[in-house]
Subunit: 466 residues, 4 copies
Amino acid sequence: MKSEGINLFDFVSPIDYRYCGRDEKIREKLGPYLSEQAFIRYLTKVEAALTNTFAERGVCSKEIAQEIEKASRQITAEEVYLEEDRIKHPIMALVNCIKRRVSGKVRAYVHFTATSMDIICTAEATRYRDFTNNLLIPKLLELEKTLINLARLEKKTVQIGRTHGQYAEPITFGFAIAQYVSRLGSRITKIRDTANNLRGKIAGAVGAYGALSVFIDDPVEFEQQVLSKLDMKPSPISTQIVEAEFMTDYVYAIISAFGVLANVADDMRHLQRSEIAEVQEFFGKEQVGSSTMPQKRNPVSFEMVKSMWKAIMPRIITVYSDQISEHQRDLTNLESSKFIAEILGVFYVCVSLLKETMSTLAVNKANLKKNFDMGKDLALAEPAHILLSAHGHPNAHEHVSKLVSESQKTGKAFAELLFEDKAVEDYLKSFNQKQLSIFTNPETYIGVADRKAEDICRYWERKLAL
Amino acid sequence: MKSEGINLFDFVSPIDYRYCGRDEKIREKLGPYLSEQAFIRYLTKVEAALTNTFAERGVCSKEIAQEIEKASRQITAEEVYLEEDRIKHPIMALVNCIKRRVSGKVRAYVHFTATSMDIICTAEATRYRDFTNNLLIPKLLELEKTLINLARLEKKTVQIGRTHGQYAEPITFGFAIAQYVSRLGSRITKIRDTANNLRGKIAGAVGAYGALSVFIDDPVEFEQQVLSKLDMKPSPISTQIVEAEFMTDYVYAIISAFGVLANVADDMRHLQRSEIAEVQEFFGKEQVGSSTMPQKRNPVSFEMVKSMWKAIMPRIITVYSDQISEHQRDLTNLESSKFIAEILGVFYVCVSLLKETMSTLAVNKANLKKNFDMGKDLALAEPAHILLSAHGHPNAHEHVSKLVSESQKTGKAFAELLFEDKAVEDYLKSFNQKQLSIFTNPETYIGVADRKAEDICRYWERKLAL
Amino acid sequence: MKSEGINLFDFVSPIDYRYCGRDEKIREKLGPYLSEQAFIRYLTKVEAALTNTFAERGVCSKEIAQEIEKASRQITAEEVYLEEDRIKHPIMALVNCIKRRVSGKVRAYVHFTATSMDIICTAEATRYRDFTNNLLIPKLLELEKTLINLARLEKKTVQIGRTHGQYAEPITFGFAIAQYVSRLGSRITKIRDTANNLRGKIAGAVGAYGALSVFIDDPVEFEQQVLSKLDMKPSPISTQIVEAEFMTDYVYAIISAFGVLANVADDMRHLQRSEIAEVQEFFGKEQVGSSTMPQKRNPVSFEMVKSMWKAIMPRIITVYSDQISEHQRDLTNLESSKFIAEILGVFYVCVSLLKETMSTLAVNKANLKKNFDMGKDLALAEPAHILLSAHGHPNAHEHVSKLVSESQKTGKAFAELLFEDKAVEDYLKSFNQKQLSIFTNPETYIGVADRKAEDICRYWERKLAL
Amino acid sequence: MKSEGINLFDFVSPIDYRYCGRDEKIREKLGPYLSEQAFIRYLTKVEAALTNTFAERGVCSKEIAQEIEKASRQITAEEVYLEEDRIKHPIMALVNCIKRRVSGKVRAYVHFTATSMDIICTAEATRYRDFTNNLLIPKLLELEKTLINLARLEKKTVQIGRTHGQYAEPITFGFAIAQYVSRLGSRITKIRDTANNLRGKIAGAVGAYGALSVFIDDPVEFEQQVLSKLDMKPSPISTQIVEAEFMTDYVYAIISAFGVLANVADDMRHLQRSEIAEVQEFFGKEQVGSSTMPQKRNPVSFEMVKSMWKAIMPRIITVYSDQISEHQRDLTNLESSKFIAEILGVFYVCVSLLKETMSTLAVNKANLKKNFDMGKDLALAEPAHILLSAHGHPNAHEHVSKLVSESQKTGKAFAELLFEDKAVEDYLKSFNQKQLSIFTNPETYIGVADRKAEDICRYWERKLAL
């Protein structure tokens, strides 16, 4: 095993050479939680917490616990992996590495009474919790803030709403963005809650506290005492491993938040289509859009977020499959769960990328207006048929449909046709001023879009203490 | 379209001819929530709630609202589908059917200001919520109760714990079952919470309350008023549809609960293996195990649950994909979301089947003991190396490993080898009585398995008010 | 069990009440292959083939075989399911039903030496093979023909090509369609090949021909003889079941073909966007686009195909999971494999729907031209930089990029800027006539799009004998 | 970007620090195909092939082509990524790097007329093809050989066959292994065929050969000429990218082969269960089974293969999703397709691991016999009921079922009960010698298991030229 002096591009996984490891700043941020080095560090934290609790209970001396804690801090991933190569067991490898660094009689208390999965489950839960609180949530809040700013800024900017990719009724662009403020907000709270509900365990080989019970009368309380040193709570009951669903809930929260990001990305890249062009990703001065088409200004960041979602989302299947473990556990979830770090790394990178992209997004007001102007006439078909109905027309929807068809055939504006239509003349006369004004100012037919956008922004600002 | 007088076996989907529709009692239970007839019924409930609210607000008269509500109740799926065949729009078809049954001027107030998805989103949320509260949760509680009973009954029944399919350390069978009590308990609360957090909307074509605002000054409050008639809350903000994540969370809760069922099933079917035979599914007097092997007693119910989980679990991918909807929505989630009813139906059937199977499960104490006796000697390797360590042995794990190897080679009991081993004689002497007794009574080395099982049962009994 | 006189809308699965069972014509086509009634019919065909082969080998008389075959033909799904309810075994239920209809001594030869999975595996393979050859392939060929017609008709219709949703370089609309001709063509051959490579087995309980060998010296040849009556070949070797991969390959072929359909649908629905409007789904005279927006003309068929793909595609995970069966097999693939019929039914419906939609698609030449005209100027950036390069310009890509930026800033046409640019004047002079003509007639810059479209159409016409 | 001197354990992806990059020998093998360095190298190969073809056609001189080829060979991933950081375009970055290394007038012919995806699609196809032929297939053949050896060695070793985890009828262990010989064999040919059917393209920005056509009269033939230098064939027709299905077919072949590996792994780890113990993974002298249970000998390699399959299999969903690309393509498949290298790397590692594990597998004949002895008596129920039937018993299955029940209740052997049973006495008398001998020698009731095992081995040896 050669672990030093590796070249980034000798690797197989795009995770490291491309997304999480390429930018040194990102690597330095993610490293302390998601790297294998970090995993080893968290394992040793759990080992130290265990021995310290034994010392508090008088099972071993404080000096012994201190010696073990000190030794644990010096362990590197390299030496653990080298030892694992020899004995084919990752945690026994770690234990051996610690033992080598402590004096004879101290050795007995390294990993005392614990099973490997006590240490692994607890370390995984702790590092993902810390990653979430220290790194992911702050970045998500930055994205949320960016969306709130945009929603507010554009809350009165009229846009033609689209359903089925077809012009529908007017909204405002800020209202459309407020959707994502709300949906992302709900996902942030879910990620936070599930991360802080991840659980550890110190319940031994089959979860029954067999070995612990030989030395400790209240092993269930002892477990709580160990875990509280890491600010963790125990699994209500364990086999060799923690109940699977705490992790399943957490990864679900991540994946469902990724879905919201993907929807933002999809929405924006379509709004950047040549024919629509209501928004545009920032395009750097030296940036190149195509190796053969110098004219191209592509929504590459939005495409990247969508592409990453396609790569990561299906992995939830693995997480669901890992809910099943035979009897007191089989090992078929060990390697598969290692990839959770990939999911988290990519998600962080995408949150970060989307935040950058949305905060530098160019909103093209002229095109928003141009498209609105193209859609606004036929959008009047809705208020027309509803108002006609309300004023007593027996078949308003059908009648308006015919006018729409005529407008589409002749190219004459629907509103014009409507107000020239003898058949509805009497109904129109009974429209009040406010109702009539819709037909001359369709941009006022936005309901409460702006108010709603503001309400949503304010709600999440408070809720998330932004 | 011929919708009457169909033969059950002329159909393609196993959902109906095999799982949900075969047993009349199940069909009658599921029908009022999950059938298409039920869907239409819930749609009309929403239409009625809408008009009634307009009447309360004075937009139309109470008589009008009553006429519409009465007409709505008479609508059948058949006529709606026939109309849809003509006009290619499911909700307009429903609206037309209602309109045909009311007098001229009343027609204007059918579906007044609403968009189709106001009605559909709200109806789906309401019927799944009702299905969950009225049918699914009670059945889940029955299963939970069954598991609690079993866990309690067997909380002192010693079993050899297994990891990697290999004998590990002792537990009790009730302790193993208590795992599922705890995991299923947490899923039941999640299903209940997410079902009761499903949301409706009455926010119009693009979610901005455009049409409503023409008639109502406070459309956001109006929306709440409509939905409160169905005991529903609105989506915080809507496009044409409700924020996707309320439904995503609900289906996630279902699928992750299905994973717990699948784990129970997998565990039990392996415990029924010929060589293990610690449990056995009830085998009916007239039941046949194989068409060619009359001796077979197969765990077919457990296999069925696992098989169903394999069929249903991947469908979460569809639900995640449906989080993405372009702009104010595209329709590519309409057909795909129709299959949520399949997921719910199959899940209900599996909860029901597992409840039956677990409540009639034969626990073979003789085989539990036989297997425990085979595993108990080597299980002593754990307490041996930990106690040797605790009494000062510098390399207890390694030394015990050698004794284990010797035991496996010679066939001589590990405990015997241990107590004959001169090299550890001095350490053994310092063992206290309690510690020594483990080696003569390995069945006491179960930690707090029985107490923990009881605690878990009690916790969930209270929490779920069983 | 009540199986007669069911109402279509009392069911849970949208498969039957909505997609495959709603239209009587579709139901009548799919029924003979995909319904449970059909499954029973195919099971009896296999039973008959088995007994007939025994008769040919002299193990039983021809009369016995004939009596069994005759009885088999009378079996209905209802009676089999009723018997299954009693004895909890589907094939033994079938066997009992046949036995009841034959005379005493004949009974011994019903299902003689066979295991249930001999019959089930073979019946499934046979009915899916027949479904594919008789129903699916002809429908796929209709779709392919429709695409070929469209590709040919529009092979010279210039369209602005789009990458990243942005205008790129010119193509023709027929060329774009020819993509799908080619991709669908390759899928049709794959579906045909894998369907006709589905396998049966008559190898007994654990695949070793144990029972058969008692009566037959050459059981491997006997198996071929039975299967040849159904035009089937045996699995090279079997456990209780056929090697899984024949079915996996087949379902893969279906799912990957569905991906091509989904791509067509996605492409078209985007081309129907209000701002693009190059194509439009047929919109019926009485069709309604929205219950509140009479102006809507939505691409509902394309959306439906995409939505169905989202519903069906993830189910391949189930098929992959079913590759794993413990030892000589476990039953956890029985229920899950029942859903293959759903996959096939939905796929057929979507092929059919897409064929209808594509054959009535309105191609809007005016909008194709309008969009091309908007994109054609900047599309010249590609030939500009390549030709400048070819004529010796050292930094053509960069230089052209600057002109593009200027064009986008000033609104002045790129071609104009190019030909006014002193810095490239000398290079432009050396362009030959053909090269220069690109800049005045960008619609000629379509490479060999039309020829390629024609070649692809011709290739598949021949290959598929259309 | 810091790409040199990285520590292996600072990374996030387990792919590199754990599976593909940990063992230097594996890293050195996979690196030349699957690393990013390798990708860059293949890109430059395609660029060189392109320019060389232009030289052959006289579009540029041979010297120019040679200069470009030479420069291309010197490119490193580091410099390309640094340039990409500046201009945000991966292929333009590569092109710039090459251009910097060539003289002024040569620059024009770097990447001449090509679009990025011409180079990327072709490079990906070529490197995966080479990886498959040079590395993966040889390793797969080693595994196949190992399985053949085992199947042959144990073709006469009687084993009790198991269905539903329950004793069924006798087979031989070699027969069980021959299953995997056959299934893996079919997958090897599929992987080989699909890898060698991967396609490239040199058809330009939108696949219509626009730019090429300016310089070349027969661009379709030109494309073939370029690709033939890499032993590749072109996509029948392209958009900006190759038809998706060539890659989909290839990844499908890999994933479906992985399913066979997972089945082997699952089978073996269950056969290693404490109670069954018919096989055992090699356990190294210094290997440790558990950090707290020195007695453990776990099937960790089999568990690892299964776990990896769970991690990788769901990723096929990404590949299917990438079949869809809007219009002439969107970029949402770029990042997602990068992960194909991960799939290939992990699959290779698992093939390698399974080969090691199967070639050192301990087959425990004593336990095979012990288990067979436990199952053999009831296994006679099959031949009993079939022979009774064949000799005229009217209800043999039912009658034998009763004897089975009695045997299970009383513990008395079934065979004994049968031959003491007055009710069948007369039938038994008419059994011939061969038939009777089954009941005294149940180990002969293995059909043609051994012959079939041998036939399968021989077939695949020839077919794969082993």
